[in-house]
Every structure is written in C-alpha cells, then in structure tokens.
Symmetry: none
Amino acid sequence: MRAEVIAVGTELLLGDIANTNAQTIGRELARIGVDCHVHTAVGDNVNRIAEAITGTFARADVAIITGGLGPTQDDVTREAIALATEDRLVTDPALVAELEERFARMGRPMAAINLRQAERPERADAIPNPLGTAPGVLAEHDGRVVYAIPGVPSEMIAMLQASVLPDLVRRAGTLASIITREIRVSGMTESAIAEALGPTWERLGPGDVTLAYLAGKGEVRVRLTAKAPTEEAASIRLDEVEQEVRDVLGPAVVGRGDETAELVVGRLLDERGWTLACAESVTGGLIAARLTDVPGSSATFRGGAVVYATDTKPSVLGVDHALIEAHGVVSGSVARAMADGARRAFGADVGLATTGVAGPTELDGVPVGTVVVAVSGPLGEADRQIRLPGNRDNVRILATSVALNLLRLYLLGALDR
Amino acid sequence: MRAEVIAVGTELLLGDIANTNAQTIGRELARIGVDCHVHTAVGDNVNRIAEAITGTFARADVAIITGGLGPTQDDVTREAIALATEDRLVTDPALVAELEERFARMGRPMAAINLRQAERPERADAIPNPLGTAPGVLAEHDGRVVYAIPGVPSEMIAMLQASVLPDLVRRAGTLASIITREIRVSGMTESAIAEALGPTWERLGPGDVTLAYLAGKGEVRVRLTAKAPTEEAASIRLDEVEQEVRDVLGPAVVGRGDETAELVVGRLLDERGWTLACAESVTGGLIAARLTDVPGSSATFRGGAVVYATDTKPSVLGVDHALIEAHGVVSGSVARAMADGARRAFGADVGLATTGVAGPTELDGVPVGTVVVAVSGPLGEADRQIRLPGNRDNVRILATSVALNLLRLYLLGALDR
C-alpha cells in the first residue's frame, strides 16, 4: 500500500508556517510501514485541492489530507473531495446534532457558518474529532481512499492516531516495518565518509537497508533505513549495518543521532572524573553554549572565558604577551596557552581553546577561516590548525564542531599527537 | 508567471526534518510577487524527481528544486533534471577546475566522488554556490525553466537570493510589487502587541497593507506586507505604517527585521564610546555567542566569563562569598555583583550578567525558569527578575533575549529603575 500526504493552506505556500503536519504524518506512515513517496502542499482553492487528490490517486492508493476543514469560506477541502470523488455535498443531520451539542456544552451560541462543518460528500463517512468542531472525512473512490483531517496540529495528531492509522493498518493487512537510525560522524567530510562506506553501499545495493548522508554544522549524519516484516527484524538489520559503519569509520563516529558531541564529551569527562573549562576567541561563546545545552552539564563543565579583545587573553587567562608577539594570536602556541589558562582560571582538569579569524575581513594578515583549536589536560597538550570555508557564521559553527571533536578524540585517547 | 517548489530528500518524506526550505522559497516568491500554487516533496529517487518536474511543467512555468545536489550516490537531482528535460549529463571542465581550486584553498584533498558535483545536463547552466561545493543547475525545456539549488539551508538561501530570484524577476518582466518588512519588538508578548496595535489593524482593514505577528525566541516580529504597482509605492506605504507601529510601541521596538538586539546594542555602545563584558551563568555563553555573531563586534565587546560552577563566580569574577550565602546565587545582588565583576575582569565600561535555573530540576529551592539579569555601568546598576516558561532550551534562549533587552533599554536611557 502506498499513501501520499496533501497539506492544504495558503499560509503554507506563502511560507508563513512550515509544513510540520506533513512531517508528522510522514513519520507516522514510516513507523507503520506504509510507503509514502510524495508530499504535496496546495492553497485554499477547491480546484487545486481536487487536482492534488486526483494526482495522488494516479500514483498511490491513499491520500491523507490535512487542513481546510474549518468553518470559514476559505475552508474548501470538503468541496474538493466531493469534486475529486464525483460526489455531492450534503448536510449530515447527525453532525449537526453533534455540533449543536458541543456548542451547548461550551455554553456558546453556534454561528450559522459552523453548519458548513456538518457537510460531507454524500457517500463519505465522518471521522470523529475528539478535540475540535471540525469532523474529518473518509471517502472511497475507484478503489482509492482519501482521509481528511484538520490542520490544527493537536486535532490532526489525535485523529491520525485514533482513526486514520488504525483504518490504514486494517486495510493494508500485514505491513512491513520501516525504521531509521542515524549515526553522527565528525572530522570527516561527507564525501570522505561516502568514499569510505562505498563498499558497504555497493554490497547493500537496493536491498533492505539504505544509507543516506545528511551534512550540516560541521558534522555528517549517516542515516540507515531498514525495512523488514517486523520492527524487531528491522532493528537487528540496523544493528548489523551500524556495526559495519562503526568498524569502517572508527573514532570519527560520535554516536547515534541523539548523541551530540557535547553529550558524548560530557560522558567521557564524567567517566574519567575530570572537569572542563574553555577559552574561546573565534567561537565567541558557542562552545560554552553547546556544552551547557546538556542537562546536568554542571557536573563536568566549570565554565569558560570568551576572550574576544586580544589584551584580555593575557589579563584574564594569563597568556604571555611575548608569546602573542612571537607567534601571533592565531597560533598553536597561543591556543595551547589559552587552554592552559582556562584550566588554571576555572580550576578545571582539561582546557579547550579556540582562536582564529571568522571574518568578514582578515586579521593581521591571517586569512578568514583560519582557526586553531587546542586542548590541554592530564594527557598532555595538542593543537590543530585548519582552514574553514564559508561566511562568518559558518566559520564560527564549524570551529565549534572542530574544537569539540578535538576534545572528544583527546578524551578517547584517539588523538595522534 | 507561476512557479512551484520541489523539495528533494527522503528525510522529508520520513518526517526526519520539516520542509523549511519550501517555506523559505514560498516566502521569497510571495515577496517578489510570483504566484506559487503547489509545493511538492519527493525522495531521493531519480524517476520520482523527474515525474515531479514534469508535473510542475504541466501546471507552471518554473520549478525551483532544492536538495539532491550533494556528492554522494543518493544525490540524483542532476540526473532527474537531465531525464525530465530530455538531456544527458556531462562533466563540466570549468566546474571541475572550480572544485579543485576550492579544495586546494581549503588545503584538503578532493575525493573522487566530488567529481559528481561537476556534472550537469549538457544544455543546462551551472548556478554558482558561494558557500559550498555543490553548484546549482539552471535548465530550460519547452519554454519552462527549472532551477536546482542545494538543500543545505545556508547555501540554498544564498543561491536563491544571488541567482534564482534575480533571474526570475528578469524573466517575469514587470510584476506587481509585494514587499514585506519586519519590525522586531522585545519585552512585550504577542497578545500585548496585538492589543496595542488593534486600532491600527482595524483602520488598515483588508487594504493594501497587512499585519502579521511572528513570535519566537523571546521576541515578536511584526510583519508588514504592502502590495502596490511599484516597489517604491509599496515602500512608501510601509514607511507610513512602520512609523505608526513605532509610535504605538515606543522603546519596545528593537529595529527592523535585520536589526537584531545584538546589532542594536553594539551600535548604542559605539555611539556612547563604551565597551561591554558579560558574566553568564544560566545562559552559558549564549549572550557572548549572539554578541560576537555581529561582524565588527570586537570594537565594543571585550569578552565574557561563563561562570557555570557556583564557586567560579567568586574565583573568576570576585563575587563576594558572603553575598551568595546571604541572597543565594539566583538573586539581584549576585547578578549585579557578577555584572560588576565582568566589568572589572575584562576592563569594560558596562557589565551584563545572567543567573538562574534552566532546569530540568530546581536548584536550592529556586524553581525552573527563574532568571535574574543585571546591568552595571556608567549609568548605574539595574536588575530584573523574571519567571520564564518552557523547557531548558527555551529558558536559556528567552533569558538571553531578556538580558540583551535590559542592556538595550539601559543604553537607550529608557529603563525605569
């Protein structure tokens, strides 16, 4: 069985809101193993909604529509379903009674316009709405099925769970289970990862597990998707492929999808019983912000200094003026001295430092994108110089990821020095 | 002219991410007055992408595709465009040279797989990508146009603005001009703003200027949209309504859409010839990160301390132990002492401090969401205690906005003390 999602609402086309309803429905369809190859968004226009339904019926068995079921004149999903299924709208007395009862319960008079919500295509059924006044619609036509549920997310989710998904599962008979898992990788480019995993990709072919790469913010997530008759079987296949990915990529693997670098670093510090402080120049507080984003980070993170003006590196962190003179601010020596200064100033076991040029203009002849990160602690010191691409924002975000990755590898004892 | 958006990526169908790229492109098309009636999302499948393009070509003049241009095997938008426009893929020597140069500049070896990104349909043109390795594609076929740009949002937006929209405007000839302008408001809730602007809203009616409210991250943006025959006429109407909004909301107005609190604060400091340092506990570096996000911020921002562990407040900032004992860490007295300590430690004119409880659990009996912000400088001291809603993330982000707003009002001399 194949389903598609149609989201209705001019506000989606105008970009006033993101199409999160399609996201939710897509996720739920994947969870119950129903294939979904297309999401469509159309405005509040009866012909265009009807065309979207007809288009879906040409490609798939099921259309799930969200939105356009309200009481006002711009809510025309009911009309569009009637048009696409060659039916006509009727007023359902049972729905009228329900609406009247609901308004009476709320102690409010019912506006005449609300009667539009008691209309449905003649051959269709209503889908109960436990949370609002808009009933849904379930219509069948030429062996195809269309479900329509409101666009208000809470009502949409409630009706999806209570009515649409169970009905879908019943119609589909036994379904396969599709589950996904992400593996975070740091310190390798998307193409380097793809090349390393090339043989794995080849071997898997168009089989039961697929790989995809999602790059962003200095990390790549490798997404594994498995399809199997049961959720358990899919999970076992994912375990196998995940192990292979981990074997191939080694310490570049940070963890699974929800295991961020900051989370893993906190765990590694905790395991060693160490605390951390940081000294940030080019990253301007982004490292501290990411570290403190993790609940409970106060157990291992003591604090940090954002030493933005050059003369605060000596005054706040005790970095030697002569060192800055001799090597320049963007140098391994200064970054190490900053990491060391952070350890001392905050009384921490490990110090992490960044210095560099985020742009938009070069600094003392050092080009934009040049970044040095350093770590200092019980295992000794290390630094890395790197040239990062992109604009100011990008350089800062990538530098943060590079620094956290240096720290992670240091704490793993996986750093070549 | 009519355009449609096609977003490519199996992660969209599976609901791993929301289709925010379609939202952005939809907003930009509305801004330049190009009608857009359908958004489609399809997976990383060459035939289905090609079918989506063919479907768009049947309904509209232009398809804007985002995603599927990466270097890996699952990136097949290039192939799909060739299929839909009856063309064949060729390797473009100029693109190869550009890629080689880009990798050389970064000092990194280029993986063989990156050569996929130098491919394009033979009759198509490449769209330059200033931020990444994936060039875009511009192809024409039977009087229709398809643009393809990457799915990475920063690259997508940059290429949309620099290449796609100008080319669209050129092709469309004269359009009715729809322009929007946002006004940032801080320190007022969405409903308080809507109430204050109620008379303005009533007076404008369903006329040439509309108002919308977008709330998020501790700020509300009031969006004005004007439609007029020319951009100039629309701009004049926006000027009038903007002035009215500013008159009604007073110092709660931070600035226009791109005038962030951090930008305005930097400008106000610069005007007074003052420098700033901050002392962050609950915000954990987020204030410093926002301040240093502004190019040139080093002129006014000296640096800051993230004093996360309680004992670093005395050791790094010289906050009196007795003060912490007497009032608790989350108190106006301690926040003021932190702001003062930051001024001293970093040699700055003004200090800004935050302390509070981000959660998930309360701290020494202080409930989650309690935040105190303080400012100290040549105009004296001030602090504000506030109880913020939401989860850890939300509390941290809102606290950052509250602190920057306190500082902004302080620098404006608009703070009641």
